[in-house]
């Protein structure tokens, strides 16, 4: 069962075991028989940590899905809500609690387990509804990093990008840092930290500070990781916008969408034109046609954002034209979403008159014309000729190092830096002949399957020299990502 977690270079089973321990402890606190009411979204991540058999061992007799109305009958002592800290879910919980029959005997105790973290806002909300006191245990299950695969960890925090880049809220960064501290506790201090981006800098600072404040965390575990690379999502805004062309990426993107294959290829063609720098400074006919035919708004937004990123921002006239067409076709209220996209740097006017993208593309060799998808020799196969910028940066860091691309790094947003963490003597890592380095790449703001594929490709390259473990705040694709930036247009639940 844990085979897939131990198959990689780093055995992530230990991480999962730590997670299980914490879960067991909480379940035992709510002593007696219990029923768990699940936030559906969590069943996936939890399934990666523990099976139902473990829950049963701790007296979980029933499991329900969280929904409004009266809770289903269950002869248990405890009702435990496993939920994400979201206000809309608090409403449902309130409904469940208020409808509970007080006269019933025996009464059931209520508890909440916030995953992965508590939220003051949610508790305040519950208090205002008058139900906060109904809960006996209110805790958080700090599932900071969930092991998805032998080389893949995710926080599954879908608002991380929005919080960091739109709201300057660093809470998810704080939890990323905590997750990294947990990893170091299990797998040893990471001697070298590299980073690019504002959020990367914050996380590194937090890690250093946390280490200083908890001196007991200095452990004697032989370090598994050689390097940590922290990357801001906004260093590479382009990759998530383009349609992924790896198998997993495609499935992830296409599932649920009814494109005709013709339209799909048209879409792809336009994307690739933009990515190779063709006509990024004019209004695009295909995009206009799609707006005119009222294709799903997210598709439109992805394309115009892609154009904007590939042009380092759109000319004011072009931007105004697109905005007008979008608002007229989909509704004026979308001004709010467009505003968000501008704030995030995805759809903005060109400032400074210079388009840096062609230089970046050339220097980092992001566009490879002679890609061979059957037997690829370069990471550009994941987008049929386009190499993800983020992965290129990782690749170049390993060999020959970032000094060779100083100029280009300066064109990308945020600082780049290097930190070293002291290892106790005797734990200095001595690598064997031919042994690969292990680098943990942490994407702050989300990572796509294509980037994961590209990094895995690098890992298994002969004479590659480095194996990669990937961590992120969230697994994303262009659609889910843009969606997280869209303004919620339904009226607030009060």
């Amino acid at each position: 069962m844990a085979a897939h977690l131990s198959s990689g270079r780093v055995n992530l089973t230990a991480l999962r075991e730590a997670g299980r321990r914490e879960l067991r402890e909480f379940l035992d606190k709510c002593a007696g028989s219990k029923a768990i009411v699940w936030d559906e979204y969590l069943t996936g991540p939890f399934g990666l940590i523990a099976q139902y058999s473990l829950l049963k061992e701790h007296e979980v007799e029933k499991m329900f899905t969280l929904k409004p109305g009266r809770l289903p009958p269950a002869d248990v002592k405890n009702i435990i809500f496993f939920v994400r800290p979201k206000l809309e879910l608090m409403d449902i919980i309130t409904d469940n609690v208020l409808r509970e029959d007080r006269g019933r005997s025996p009464q059931r105790d209520f508890h909440i387990l916030f995953v992965p973290r508590r939220s003051l806002l949610c508790e305040q909300w519950l208090k205002e509804q008058g139900v906060l006191g109904s809960f006996i245990h209110r805790e958080q299950y700090s599932l900071d990093l969930i092991p998805f695969d032998g080389d893949l960890l995710s926080m599954e925090s879908d608002s991380a990008f929005k919080e960091c880049y739109l709201e300057s809220d660093q809470t998810s960064l704080y939890h990323a840092a905590k997750g990294l501290m947990t990893l170091q506790a299990l797998y040893g201090t990471i001697p070298q930290i590299f980073g690019k981006g504002d959020c990367a800098r914050h996380v590194a600072n937090m890690m250093i500070r946390m280490k200083r404040e908890f001196p007991g965390s200095q452990n004697s575990i032989f370090p598994v990781f050689d390097t940590l690379l922290l990357l801001d999502r906004n260093v590479d805004l382009l990759t998530p916008l383009a349609t992924q062309l790896t198998y997993e990426g495609l499935i992830d993107e296409i599932y649920g969408i009814q494109n005709t294959s013709e339209d799909f290829f048209d879409n792809l063609t336009v994307e690739q034109e933009f990515m190779s720098g063709i006509d990024t400074d004019k209004v695009n006919n295909y995009i206009e046609d799609c707006i005119a035919q009222k294709h799903p708004l997210i598709k439109i937004l992805r394309l115009v954002c892609l154009q904007s990123v590939c042009n380092s921002g759109l000319k004011q006239k072009v931007l105004d034209h697109y905005k007008r067409e979008i608002l007229q076709t989909y509704g004026y209220e979308h001004i709010l979403t467009l505003n968000n996209l501008e704030k995030a740097g995805l759809l903005k006017p060109q400032t400074g008159g210079r388009n840096n993208y062609p230089t970046i593309r050339k220097t980092l060799r992001l566009w490879m014309d002679d890609v061979n998808e059957q037997s690829p020799n370069d990471i550009s196969y994941v987008y049929s000729g386009y190499a993800p910028l983020s992965v290129r940066l990782a690749q170049l860091l390993a060999r020959p190092g970032w000094r060779s691309i100083e100029e280009v790094l300066k064109m990308l947003p945020g600082p780049h830096f290097e930190e070293r963490q002291q290892l106790p003597t005797g734990l200095q890592k001595k690598r064997q002949q031919g042994e690969n380095r292990v680098t943990l790449v942490f994407f702050l703001g989300g990572v796509t399957y294509a980037e994961i594929a590209a990094l895995r490709f690098l890992s298994q390259m002969e004479d590659g020299g480095t194996e990669y473990i990937i961590a992120t705040t969230k697994l994303i694709n262009g659609t889910t990502w843009i969606k997280s930036l869209m303004e919620k247009l339904e009226p607030a639940p009060f």
């Binding site: 606190k29 002593a31 007696g32 028989s33 049963k56 701790h58 007296e59 007799e61 002869d75 002592k77 206000l87 025996p106 009464q107 105790d109 973290r117 939220s119 003051l120 806002l121 305040q124 909300w125 208090k127 008058g130 139900v131 006191g133 109904s134 809960f135 006996i136 245990h137 209110r138 805790e139 958080q140 919080e163 709201e167 300057s168 809220d169 660093q170 809470t171 960064l173 704080y174 914050h202 937090m206 206009e288 046609d289 005119a292 009222k294 105004d320 905005k323 007008r324 067409e325 608002l327 007229q328 076709t329 004026y332 209220e333 001004i335 709010l336 505003n339 247009l489 009226p491 607030a492």
Partner: protein
């Protein structure tokens, strides 16, 4: 047990009475008994206002439900059977609190807090304070070391640390502005969003607005947190005041505009949007907001009118194609479609006419033709379609023109099941030959295929196409006659 008593003595006689902080409630059962006694003796000291508090926490002999219960559970050595009922686990009525569960949140610390009579009883920092009592059965007691700072003051730094670990802290002791700001700065340095928000809520409650705003202006991180909190909780007025103070005018404008989504009544929404027009949007956005208002205004008029028409039952159009939905709050292009559908021939002076919409909102030709085409095609008004695509030059010559490409025209017509004769007209006009052939074969516009192959002088293809037409049909004859034409210089 004796430790508790000693501390209780110290507590009641010390001058730090108001700075009561409550540590991890381990042995809470015993603490509760002590406190019950303390509460009763409190009556003389505490204000009258606090009487309601005392009532809520009715210490009628029942300990807060789950503690005794969980202790009882552990004591009974629950085997936690997996298949449901186990009589040893049945709770007797006595182990259940007579208090409604709500009351248990009004914990001891809230009784002893220096209470501000004006503000609401519970301060928000209490949300962390009233943590679901992390109660343990006695055998899971926390190590002694954690009792260390049981009753001493914690510095801002320590307080923040404790809050980060989810421990209970009362912030009331931070009275001076300087202390409060220190607390805030520590919280920000600690990065934990929950803690920062808790401190901000405390400051919001205990500081004058101007002072709070002024201090936040130079503390970006804290500022962002507060804004986020205000948005989430819907405290619109406070948020706008804050943004105005910061001179973040465009944000004020957008924030206010966002509120229109909460207004369901159309008239009220219209009024609201009108009020938004003067707000400090960017120039571009101002025109969009203006359009939004104008559009809704028009939609209200059209809707009222059309509903009336529909109910009167006089209009054939409305009878034949009853409206599926109201036009209110629909996007502009959708409104245009509606107008082209139900009000196509109306004069420009009418708000409901398509030409009026086009003029008022400066809808580009391309969009206009496309939308009108779709509407008329749906009504199978082929004559109108034709007229849309025909332009007359100054000499009076007509010419067919489509600002959107004829292949698109064909697509739209075909979607609306246009008869082949109509379709054919426009397939013929598709410029790109390959596309033309594709569409023509696809939609069985035989004449177009035949003519095109003839023009291409492609004998092979033309011959092959004979199989696709009906035996003995006019088309077959046509092909035959062309093939037998000696004058054509076939290329193959």
């Amino acid at each position: 047990m004796s430790r508790v008593r000693a501390d209780e003595e110290e507590y009641w006689h010390s001058s730090k009475f108001r700075a009561f902080t409550f540590d991890d409630e381990d042995d809470e059962l015993s603490q509760l008994k002590e406190s019950k006694r303390a509460v009763n003796s409190l009556r003389d000291i505490v204000d009258d206002d606090d009487d309601d508090d005392l009532e809520r926490v009715s210490w009628s002999g029942e300990p807060v439900g789950s503690i005794s219960w969980s202790i009882k559970e552990t004591a009974s050595g629950s085997t936690g059977s997996l298949d449901g009922r186990d009589s040893s686990l049945q709770k007797g009525p006595s182990s259940y609190a007579a208090l409604p569960k709500q009351a248990s949140s009004y914990s001891l610390s809230s009784l002893f807090k220096g209470r501000n009579k004006l503000s609401s009883f519970q301060s928000l920092s209490d949300a962390l304070t009233d943590t679901g009592i992390k109660n343990y059965a006695p055998e899971l007691r926390r190590p002694k070391a954690e009792y260390k700072d049981y009753s001493s003051d914690w510095s801002p730094k320590d307080t923040v640390r404790r809050m980060q670990r989810g421990k209970i802290c009362s912030l009331e002791r931070f009275r001076s502005l300087q202390d409060k700001l220190l607390l805030l700065d520590e919280a920000v340095a600690g990065h934990d969003g929950n803690v920062i928000t808790a401190v901000l809520i405390f400051l919001k409650r205990t500081l004058r607005r101007e002072i709070l705003f002024r201090e936040l202006e130079v503390r970006q991180v804290a500022l962002c947190h507060l804004i986020h909190f205000l948005r989430e909780m819907g405290e619109q007025k406070f948020l706008l005041d804050l943004l105005r103070f910061l001179d973040r005018t465009e944000e004020v404008a957008l924030s206010q505009y966002r509120e229109h989504l909460n207004i369901q009544d159309v008239e009220k929404r219209r009024e609201f949007l009108k009020g938004c027009i003067g707000l400090p949007f960017s120039a571009e956005d101002t025109s969009h907001i203006q359009d939004h208002y104008t559009l809704l205004e028009r939609q209200i008029i059209i809707e009222a009118n059309d509903r009336h028409l529909e109910m009167a039952g006089q209009s054939e159009l409305f009878r034949k194609y009853p409206r599926k939905a109201s036009i209110l709050n629909m996007p502009l292009v959708t409104t245009l479609f509606y107008s082209c559908f139900y009000h196509y021939t109306e004069a420009e002076g009418m708000f409901s006419s398509p030409t009026n919409l086009k003029k008022t909102f400066k809808i580009p030709d391309k969009q206009y033709v496309l939308t009108a085409l779709a509407a008329r095609a749906k009504l199978r008004a082929w004559g109108d379609v034709d007229a849309l695509l025909t332009t007359k030059n100054w000499l009076g010559y007509t010419k067919k023109k489509a600002p959107i490409g004829f292949h698109r025209v064909v697509e739209i017509l075909q979607r609306n099941n246009a008869p082949v004769q109509v379709l054919q007209e426009y397939v013929r006009l598709v410029e790109d030959v390959e596309t033309r052939l594709n569409l023509a074969s696809k939609y069985k516009c035989h004449d177009v295929v035949i003519e095109t192959y003839r023009d291409l002088k492609d004998r092979v293809q033309l011959t092959a196409y004979k199989c696709k037409v009906e035996r003995g049909s006019a088309e077959e004859e046509k092909i035959q006659s062309i093939l037998s034409n000696m004058q054509i210089r076939w290329k193959n």
